[in-house]
């Protein structure tokens, strides 16, 4: 009996099994629905990204026109918004929007992109509290429930489909009495089970990867082949885990009903219970200080700073001699005084934020350590990373914006301290945000750990299945 015979017979069985065909068809429909949701969301974000880019251009050209008009003898549109003042030119009305383009495979995994901000208006007043802005306008109910995207279908539903296809791969043959017949041929139970499962794996992986590639094709995601490869490898590894688990349980030689109960229980524990338990443990062991403290700290720092402006200015000038050129510390202008206060508040906010981030890192570390218990968490992390909608890419964006805000301040603050006016000639030199997006290789390196662990789990379970199948005999 050859592999071809097994595969051919499996194909015939599949074609004859109407409920199974309906289930597969339904799954394809759901995947299609998931993909269209992702595409709609991607288009929505792209639209916003385009609008922010246009906004940058419009703001810059309006400022240029006004500055040129003033140089030609005109008046500023408002005495409180004179664009020659560095506090105005570098302030909210002259701000530059730093934006993170949607992840290349957003259509496949919406991930954190509906929750985390993907653009920030940067100006001289950008500080730690600026990063607490909300992301996209979204119904909190929708954020709570989550979206129906391909990543969700892969992490939650794909295992169920796999288990439905393979929970009785050997037990049914035993129950029908065909196992003894099959094994009377010169063939090992291990090869029969492997071939039967391989056939199912081909069908399932073919469907999921086909829809994924279609999605990538439709949204230009083919520009990042590394990400597509990572996505595909994750889908395959995750599927293999569930097939291997089904094989192992089948090898134990119990009834189909017993297999079904055990496998559904395993799914429930690994996909639903463990992630929730890990999160709860992280919350209990490393509770986050609430951001509410940040509000109070900011308030207190700014009250304090306003009262001690002169003192703060003197200290600021000591700390930043490079910014102090041309400033007479004894007679600071109003701008310099107010900047010193702003800087003191920023400093205090950075302290509070640093403390918060440290506690948050502890919590995240705990979640990351114990995620190895749940293949679902590992797969989710790798899938979101591949799509460019995971936490890491947003954190990287935020730190680039932080650095950009620093460059922005370095450009405008010396002029504020020196009480100087600016003109249209500085405009070409005003910093512009350029996103240094992560390379595919960075993504692959980051995803290597969860993927390696997932691969390890697959090997472990496969080895167990292999040993178990080796013991299977045709008749008990």
């Amino acid at each position: 009996m050859t592999a071809r015979t097994v595969l051919k017979n499996e194909w015939r069985l599949l074609m004859a099994d109407r409920p199974l065909k309906i289930a597969l068809g339904l799954f394809v429909v759901l995947l299609g629905y998931a993909l269209t949701n992702g595409v709609v969301w991607l288009r929505f974000q792209e639209h916003t990204v385009e609008a922010t880019t246009n906004g940058n251009v419009e703001r810059a050209s309006a400022l240029q026109q006004e500055l040129e008009a003033i140089e030609a003898g005109g008046q500023p549109s408002s005495p409180f918004a004179d664009p020659r003042s560095p506090r105005v030119l570098g302030g909210p009305s002259g701000s530059h929007t730093a934006v993170l383009a949607p992840g290349p495979l957003t259509a496949l995994a919406i991930g954190q992109s509906d929750l985390l901000p993907y653009y920030y208006d940067v100006n001289i007043y950008t500080n730690e509290s600026s990063f607490h802005q909300n992301g996209e306008v979204e119904n909190p109910l929708n954020l709570m429930v989550g979206r129906f995207d391909l990543a969700f279908a892969v992490v939650y539903l794909l295992p169920l489909l796999i288990l439905a296809l393979s929970f009785n791969v050997l037990s049914e043959e035993r129950e029908q009495g065909t196992l003894a017949l099959t094994l009377s041929q010169p063939v090992a139970a291990r090869s029969v089970a492997t071939l039967k499962l391989a056939f199912r794996a081909l069908v399932v992986a073919g469907i999921v990867l086909g829809v994924s590639l279609l999605g990538a094709l439709a949204t230009g995601g083919f520009g990042s082949p590394g990400r597509i490869l990572l996505w595909s490898v994750t889908v395959v590894a995750y599927s293999l885990f569930w097939f291997a688990l089904a094989a192992w349980v089948n090898a134990l030689g119990r009834s189909s009903a017993w297999n079904a109960t055990v496998l559904v229980g395993a799914w429930l524990v690994l996909v639903v219970v463990l992630p929730a338990a890990i999160n709860a443990a992280a919350g209990l062991l490393h509770p986050l200080p609430s951001r509410v403290e940040m509000v109070t700290a900011q308030r207190e720092a700014s009250n304090d700073a306003v009262n001690r402006r002169s003192e703060l200015l003197a200290r600021y000038l000591e700390d930043h001699p490079e910014m102090a050129e041309g400033v007479v510390a004894d007679e600071p202008g109003l701008g310099a005084l107010s900047w010193a206060a702003t800087d003191a508040v920023n400093g205090r906010l950075e302290e509070v934020a640093a403390e918060h981030d440290a506690r948050r890192a502890e919590q995240t570390a705990l979640v990351r350590r114990y995620r190895v218990l749940s293949p679902a968490l590992l797969a989710q992390e790798a899938l979101l990373d591949a799509a460019g909608t995971g936490d890491a890419r947003f954190a990287d964006f935020q730190s680039q914006v932080r650095a950009f805000a620093e460059r922005w301040r370095e450009f405008f603050v010396p002029a504020i301290l020196a009480d100087e006016q600016m003109n249209a000639s500085v405009l070409p030199n005003v910093p512009r945000f350029g996103l240094a997006d992560e390379e595919s290789s960075d993504v692959v390196r980051r995803a290597a750990v969860p993927l390696a662990v997932l691969g390890g789990l697959v090997l472990l379970v496969s080895a167990g299945a292999g040993v178990g199948l080796g013991r299977v005999r045709g008749a008990d």
Binding site: H47, L141, V155, A164, V273, A280, R291, V292, R299
Partner: protein
């Protein structure tokens, strides 16, 4: 006879290893999640109360300044945690917790706890509500999928009916037996929950115990739906395996697929603007006005005051014309905010209603909506607080501008007041909406859950009556 059936079913179940283990798992998850939720909620509640007190202190001790400067300084409002939020945190992690109430602007709620969490933390939260909505139904299915199908397979159904017991009695007995086994798990949880509610500082909720009782009733109805469905399928199915597969499919659609499908569907039917678009629209309308809402004209306002008081020059006005103009700008911007935020909240509400209607395909959506509503953690109650805070802001601004108008003259930039005025502003006190308000919002979910209950029970009795013996 029936008590024999009940006792047999009950004993069967508690002796079954599978039930014992899954019940221990679900029961301990339920208790852990209640305790976890309670600890978190109490901590958050203490923090918010403290922060609100500090915010008030900042307001009162802001020193001497012009009332309009005080309006710009503003005050922070923190959304309180309601008493029952430890059972169901609902949308709370996804709504901001604090809002800055300042002059000229209606700000967004900031600091969403979920933004500090990771993607992994988003796919599974261990709350009592999650356990009740997802794991308990699963347990019910595991307990009862074989109720009839299993007996039929073993051939005991024929013997049983030979004793003269009626189908109806048999079904009722099986349902009661399973309920008894489940009660071993649910009653302690309900008692723990009620005790926690009495012990904890119950936050600003009117009648938390009444809310808790209705909440328990909603979950009970939900469980009966599953019990009845499961018995119906077991009576109808050819084999217990078919029954199990079918019921698991129902469970997956009910808890996993339908809620998310409903989200994306409701987003497509009732689209909301992007944050960027929304901010731009507000900015544009604030600058130019829109439709019949025109920005106030300062010269016109001054002219009107001069005519009203019968004087020639602004200096001769007995009031501060700037204060009047500032208040007119507030009134104008309030109309712009009402228009835009109102439209946004309404879109959210419509999305929510569409999802509630889709509970016709999945009762989990109905019980989820009721659960959040009664716990005080749904979108409507967030809106209720947001609107209370906004009303407070508007009153505060009116009081500040009014003081400036009445007690200073136009052009007097040195006018300053102190703690007396700040303290005369009442602190923000939030009263959560009463139970009737919550239920009034949730009539659709109540109706859908009621329909499920009636439908499932009718289906079960019909299927049991038509069931085959072998």
């Amino acid at each position: 006879m029936i008590h024999h059936i009940v006792r047999k079913e009950f004993t069967d179940m508690i002796r079954d290893g599978r039930f014992r283990w899954s019940a221990i798992l679900v029961g301990s998850l339920l208790l852990v999640s209640l305790a976890h939720g309670w600890v978190q909620a109490r901590k958050a509640s203490q923090e918010l109360t403290a922060a609100q007190a500090t915010a008030r202190e900042h307001w009162e001790t802001q020193g001497e300044k012009n009332p309009h400067s005080a309006a710009h300084y503003g005050v922070y409002a923190f959304k309180p945690r309601l008493a029952l939020s430890f059972v169901d945190e609902g949308v709370d992690p996804f709504t901001g917790t604090s809002v800055w109430l300042e002059a000229h602007r209606q700000n967004d709620f900031l600091l969403r706890p979920a933004q500090d969490a990771t993607a992994a933390q988003r796919i599974g939260a261990l709350t009592a509500a999650q356990v009740l909505q997802h794991l308990v139904p699963l347990l019910i299915i595991l307990l009862t999928f074989g109720a009839f199908a299993g007996e039929r397979e073993r051939g005991t159904l024929r013997q049983l009916l030979a004793t003269g017991v009626g189908w109806r009695e048999l079904a009722l007995g099986k349902a009661l037996g399973a309920s008894g086994a489940l009660a071993l798990l649910l009653v302690p949880a309900a008692v723990t929950g009620a005790a926690a509610l009495v012990v904890a500082n119950p936050g600003p909720t009117a009648s938390p115990l009444a809310r808790g009782a209705v909440l328990a009733g909603a979950y009970l109805a939900y469980f009966v739906v599953f019990l009845a469905l499961s018995l119906a399928v077991s009576a109808r199915a050819r084999s217990s395996r078919t029954a199990l597969v079918f019921l698991l499919a129902v469970w997956v659609v009910n808890g996993l697929v339908a809620p998310r499908v409903a989200v994306d569907l409701s987003k497509r039917v009732y689209a909301t603007p992007s944050a960027f678009e929304f901010a731009r629209t507000v900015e544009r309308e604030m600058a130019d006005g829109v439709e019949d809402i025109a920005p106030p004209d300062r010269d016109e306002s001054t002219e009107r005051l001069l005519a009203e008081y019968g004087v020639e020059r602004v200096e001769d006005l007995p009031i501060n014309a700037v204060g009047v103009y500032l208040q007119e700008s507030e009134e104008f911007s309030n109309r712009i905010f009402d228009r835009n935020y109102g439209a946004l909240w309404d879109a959210f509400r419509r999305q929510g209603i569409l999802q509630e209607a889709l509970a016709a395909a999945a009762p989990s959506i109905a019980v989820r909506t009721l659960s959040m509503g009664l716990a005080g953690t749904d979108v409507e109650q967030h809106r209720h607080f947001a609107e209370t805070a906004e009303t407070y802001r508007r009153d505060l601004m009116r009081q500040m501008n009014g003081d400036m108008t009445e007690n200073s003259l136009t052009g007097d930039f040195t006018y300053a007041v102190g703690a007396e005025l700040w303290e005369s502003v009442p602190p923000l006190e939030y009263e959560a909406p009463p139970l009737g308000w919550v239920l009034g919002n949730r009539i659709l979910s109540l109706a859908v859950l009621g329909a499920w209950l009636a439908g499932a029970v009718l289906l079960a009795s019909a299927q049991v009556r038509r069931a085959e013996v072998a």
